[in-house]
Symmetry: C2
Subunit: 314 residues, 2 copies
């Protein structure tokens, strides 16, 4: 598993180990956290390799003997593409090619890939199904994930690999370490009486709890799938940024003054409405157990108990 020390990756590691499946984790610890793997490292079924997904040879060696590759390593930062325009290309597109090539060299025939609803850009159809009209890319992050998806599909077709591509909404829950709940909580620790909100607060977004996400990955990987399967992954609801702020502040018992930067987008490439049609995933028998509100609250509670994470992320 690439990105094994990351938010979603480390949760997936723990769940795979709990099912008795041995896992080799691969991470460069650029954003991954050693502490996320503390439990895993006590399990004899877990191995950990410090390596970079841009290092094809190290990847190839790390994958020896694997049956399935979970490719979660990524630059997961949607917002700052303009500040470092090559990062998304390298960390998402070229890295995915390296993963595919390492799989091919090792004869590994199955993978799971963490993609994103951001590849729909500003979808004309909401809720957005997997086969919605061919979208225009609006962020370097989305474009680089689209590139990765295309490479996976083409490798699948060309070399006979099976792949499950998951287009996630934003994921929340334990070990969450990046995104709006994180940013808001950090702001409120620094100045409890005011909160700066990008945009007008009416951006509509979907979220999913990380354990529901892992359930879905297991469910989809168990299903008898076509060569390449694309699956949206989210809840059947969305909320406004303002809703989320209300839940966060409610849980923390705070009433900050809200300062909106204005406009219907928080940043260039921000999507004012993300809501995915997840019928395809649900048809496999999966359903989320937690609402967006519950996920937000659980995330706040996790951050409150894990202040070290805010410090470690500068």
């Amino acid at each position: 598993m690439t990105g094994a020390a990351g938010f979603i990756g480390s949760n997936l590691v723990d769940r795979l180990l709990a099912r008795g499946e041995p896992v080799v984790g691969y991470d460069n610890f650029s954003t991954g956290q050693g502490r996320f793997l503390e439990t895993a490292l006590r399990n004899p079924g877990f191995g950990l390799i410090r390596g970079d997904v841009l290092d094809l040879d190290a990847l190839r060696c790390a994958m020896q003997g694997a049956e399935t590759v979970y490719h979660l390593a990524a630059n997961a930062d949607v917002r700052f593409g303009a500040d470092h325009p090559r990062r998304d290309l390298e960390q998402n597109a070229i890295a995915t090619w390296n993963v595919l090539e390492a799989m091919r060299l090792n004869g590994i025939g199955q993978m799971a890939f963490a993609s994103t609803g951001s590849i729909y850009g500003e979808a004309p159809v909401i809720p957005t199904p997997e086969d919605c009209p061919f979208p225009n890319q609006t962020s370097l992050y989305g474009a680089s994930k689209l590139a990765a998806e295309g490479l996976i599909a083409a490798y699948g077709e060309t070399f006979g690999m099976r792949a499950s591509i998951f287009r996630f909404v934003s994921i929340l829950g334990e070990r969450y370490s990046h995104g709006h709940v994180f940013d808001f909580y950090r702001q409120l620790l620094e100045h409890p009486d005011s909160l700066r909100v990008l945009g007008n607060g009416h951006q509509k977004k979907s979220y999913l709890y990380v354990q529901d996400c892992v359930d879905a990955i297991f469910c989809a990987m168990n299903a008898d799938a076509e060569k390449v399967t694309v699956l949206n992954l989210g809840t059947d609801e969305y909320c406004e940024v303002n809703d989320s702020i209300g839940w966060i502040c409610g849980r923390l018992g705070m009433q900050p003054r809200l300062e909106y930067t204005g406009g219907d987008r928080g940043w260039i490439g921000d999507n004012p409405f993300i809501f995915l049609d997840c019928k395809r995933m649900r048809s496999l028998g999966w359903a989320p157990k937690y609402s967006i509100r519950e996920s937000v609250v659980k995330t706040v509670e996790y951050l409150v108990e894990n202040r070290w994470l805010l410090e470690s992320r500068g």
Copy 2:
């Protein structure tokens, strides 16, 4: 113009120069031909730089002072992706990122990009419009062009560039130097009495004459366009491989025995039916002047008069 010494590129160079527009050509001559630029090189408005699209710094220097970038350099080989799986990624995706980044560094705000109908994979809607259902990639070539398109759209959105993305069918005409007419003609020179045909000959494909293609590029670049415009480019007809064989053999006065390799695809990732809906391009006032049959015949005539090209392509 990247790929200025290529088939489409060199035709576009000649037409731009004929309109009095100065052009700097950029090519590494890996498949480009110096002879294609013989006319251009006699024009004082033309400059030529030998360079590679993987060399960002050379690209950046070559683009100084340019207003518009025509990005035609590519690995245009759809068929052999499996033999060198990194080539498409490098020549199409990473190279396009380099072109975009060189444009950004030079403050250049407009580009034209040669994409392909192959990005539709095996489209469920035929004729296929630009906003057809989100396709699955079936070739490394298509996937790498999709990646390039996504990067262009994201750069356009993020950095305020305008771009026209052209999804070509196969182009035919003068300086054509790769594809089925080329392969068939070469076979017939070697053994006039037999022709090996990949697949069953019933694959349905669309083609466009290169001067019609250049007309369309000019027409679209003149139009008041949105930030990023995607345009299919083809004729309102298609033909079977067998039709094309008939026109080729007819023009050459040959009657070879046809040997089919069988199956409805010529190779892994071959698309048995390519036919694009070109209403969007036609709505700008463009229409092709030549039929597929005329384009095939003109291509054969060009190859007959330019046997050196068959030798130069090994």
